[in-house]
Symmetry: C2
Subunit: 425 residues, 2 copies
């Protein structure tokens, strides 16, 4: 197969007629498929549903001398703090166990900046006319939505194969109105990139002009390998502390992609100074989070090794799905030279960069053929991808036979969009 860029107009025209026929044939199947969100598939959920069985007798609800069924222990059950401290490589005193969603903890952390300010802030951020925020992109659309809902001025930072472009970051943080930054350090959403040691060192040692700069370290995929062995990651709290930046960072994680999405437990980790401050503020918001669910997780996993063992089982389900996506792209798209993509070993996404100007059109063609993809542009601040190129493929939800069909639609749609674009040029 020839690259599209090397085809003559006549060859492109012939290819277009062929691909249009393929597309119409797929459309005629009236499918309804979804690769839009990082939702675990049913097989993954079934695999962990025995977590419901760990609490039976009344005495099962006692943990650390605490009745998990009653009010109290705002910061979470000690055993649960220990479990996640071991996962994140921090101390239990650095860990706060929240509700069923780390997104809510992230939102709350930023909301409190706006209503109260950070522990070292001069005033609540709601009192500033402008709050600027660094958004490495492509990035996680829900992070950007949080920034957007608070009216932040989002500044796009390019992603490199080793993480955010730190030359750009180091320049931008000289502006005292730049008050924070989103990061997904391991298997970044959507690129699946692991930040390099050098990138992490440069982030941890930043000296932002804003003294209340907030590093939002969303370690959503910290133990989420689907190919190969577990990859260790540095403890960002410790890294920041090396440079006197221990109060700069909040780290987040959850079991949404370990047990149940939106029904697991979430955590943040931070310095003791931040913890004391957050506990004071959170104490006005809630008496205590759901400790019964915390207890289910403690009993089910027992320790970090128990968690890592389960993640191997998730990999057994997710690995073949990612293989399916990558194989289809390698087979159908690579020879045509109309897109490039990352080859992650973990996380929940494959990030595809099409030739400029066809992501939206590809998305639309997919939709019309019954395949819902993440909105083109969603991986950029304000939903605007300047190149109209990045597309996030989320292979986790569909069963493998549906996934094959979905990738057929996706590849044919992308070819069609590329051909139309090239022929219109």
């Amino acid at each position: 197969m020839k690259k599209y860029a090397e085809m003559t107009k006549a060859e492109l025209q012939a290819e277009l007629e062929l691909v249009e026929k393929q597309y119409e044939a797929l459309k005629d199947q009236h499918l309804s498929l979804n690769m839009a969100r990082g939702k675990p598939g049913k097989e993954q959920l079934d695999m962990v549903s025995d977590i419901a069985e760990v609490l039976k007798a009344d005495s099962d609800y006692m943990c650390d001398g605490i009745d998990a069924r009653n009010y109290g222990n705002l910061e979470g059950l000690p055993s649960c703090r220990k479990l996640f401290a071991d996962v994140l490589g921090v101390q239990p005193e650095n860990v706060f166990i929240g509700g069923s969603a780390s997104l809510q903890l992230m939102y709350d952390t930023i909301a409190k900046c706006y209503t109260h300010g950070r522990v070292m802030s001069d005033k609540p951020w709601g009192r500033y006319d402008v709050v600027k925020w660094l958004c490495p992109a492509p990035g996680y659309d829900r992070h950007f939505k949080v920034s957007e809902t608070f009216g932040m001025q989002m500044i796009t930072v390019p992603m490199t194969p080793t993480g955010p472009d730190m030359d750009v970051v180091e320049e931008l943080i000289r502006d005292p109105e730049v008050r924070g930054m989103w990061c997904v350090p391991k298997y970044s959403n959507p690129d699946g990139i692991i930040y390099s040691e050098e990138t992490i060192r440069r982030i941890a040692s930043m000296k932002p002009a804003a003294k209340d700069f907030l590093l939002m370290w969303d370690n959503a995929y910290c133990i989420h390998e689907f190919f190969g062995d577990y990859v260790p990651f540095p403890d960002i709290l410790g890294e920041c502390a090396k440079y006197g930046n221990e109060d700069m960072v909040f780290e987040f994680a959850s079991t949404s992609k370990i047990t149940f999405p939106g029904a697991g437990v979430s955590v943040f980790a931070c310095s003791v100074r931040n913890m004391d401050y957050m506990k004071k503020l959170l104490g006005a918001q809630i008496i205590s989070y759901d400790k019964v669910n915390q207890l289910r997780h403690i009993r089910y996993f027992k320790d970090r090794d128990g968690l890592l063992a389960l993640m191997k089982k998730h990999a057994g389900i997710l690995g073949p799905k990612f293989r399916c996506v990558l194989d289809a792209l390698d087979r159908e798209i690579a020879p045509l030279g109309i897109a490039e993509w990352q080859r992650p070993n973990g996380g929940y996404f494959v990030s595809v960069n099409t030739m400029p100007g066809i992501a939206k059109a590809t998305w639309q063609l997919c939709k019309e053929a019954g395949l819902t993809m993440t909105g083109a542009g969603a991986t950029f601040p304000y939903g605007k991808d300047p190149k109209d190129s990045n597309m996030r493929v989320a292979p986790s939800l569909p069963p493998i036979e549906q996934l094959e069909k979905a990738m057929e639609i996706y590849c044919v749609s992308m070819r069609l969009a590329a051909l139309r674009k090239l022929l219109a040029a």
Copy 2:
């Protein structure tokens, strides 16, 4: 027994010597008792712990065609919305199911006023220098803490036997800086008062100067009778709508005192206009709340009748505890004329008003004898009871034999504080 106020100085002195001996004898028992918070007792928790058993097979997790284990349905499972709509007397479309704590929903509702404003606001409340708030008192300390954390200027409204003093309220809401009000309409915390029909009509028909006035209707004890039959309550959304005030009110409830405190489900109910607005804002905060826990509650209760049947069982445990408190007060305190108290049929508290100036001293004496009570003053804004008189007794947590001992300490402490006060006068 003579009333203390009618005793001569010599009689008071003799009584003091007697009561001091009783107090010292109690202190020598080195007890550790707690009547501080409205925590359900172990017997209540054990009674509902079989809720863990309702989800067993993978297929059990399907509800309304939705897999409760996965992301989605921000506003909650339809069946769960229906269940609470039936309890509150509203439509399912008016009901939003939140996480494990209604306090968090209340906090979030007010936090969004500060960061975004209400749907009809001119600007976020964080942009105002002053936000005033009406606090019927005695009231719920955690409500007042929410107001305090946002820097509201709290204005105390006296409670009457039929609810907040509406003459005072109607005068205060003429101030456009007064933007809201806390209410616990059924078995108010701590008084256990049910707002009268007339009070509710006057609240629902208010015409506050602030167009974004927020009526926070915390129906925490809406089905929480411990003596006698279930008492119906009016639907506040419908009442407000009668007067064109449908967007003024948010109603809150939870199962914290039905299943597990801090591990149940919480709800708010509001107009469709408010719901659309809140869903837009909450959609930036969370993908979906814990639907697995929602499903447990649906399966466990089935419908409103199921809930009411369980509340009868709670009454079987709580009724004797409240009887114990009231009997002790009737026996030990009533003849002395040093306090008065409410006689609620539901809720979680007995509100005691001592003679002025001895609540703090009574609290301190209790503490030194090993009994923790709700802080004196906690039932008033800023923790300041102008008469130093109101004390909240929470009989739910201790087993009945401990409760008898706790009431012994409480009554002796109050007598001692009264005698010292009278003799110092």
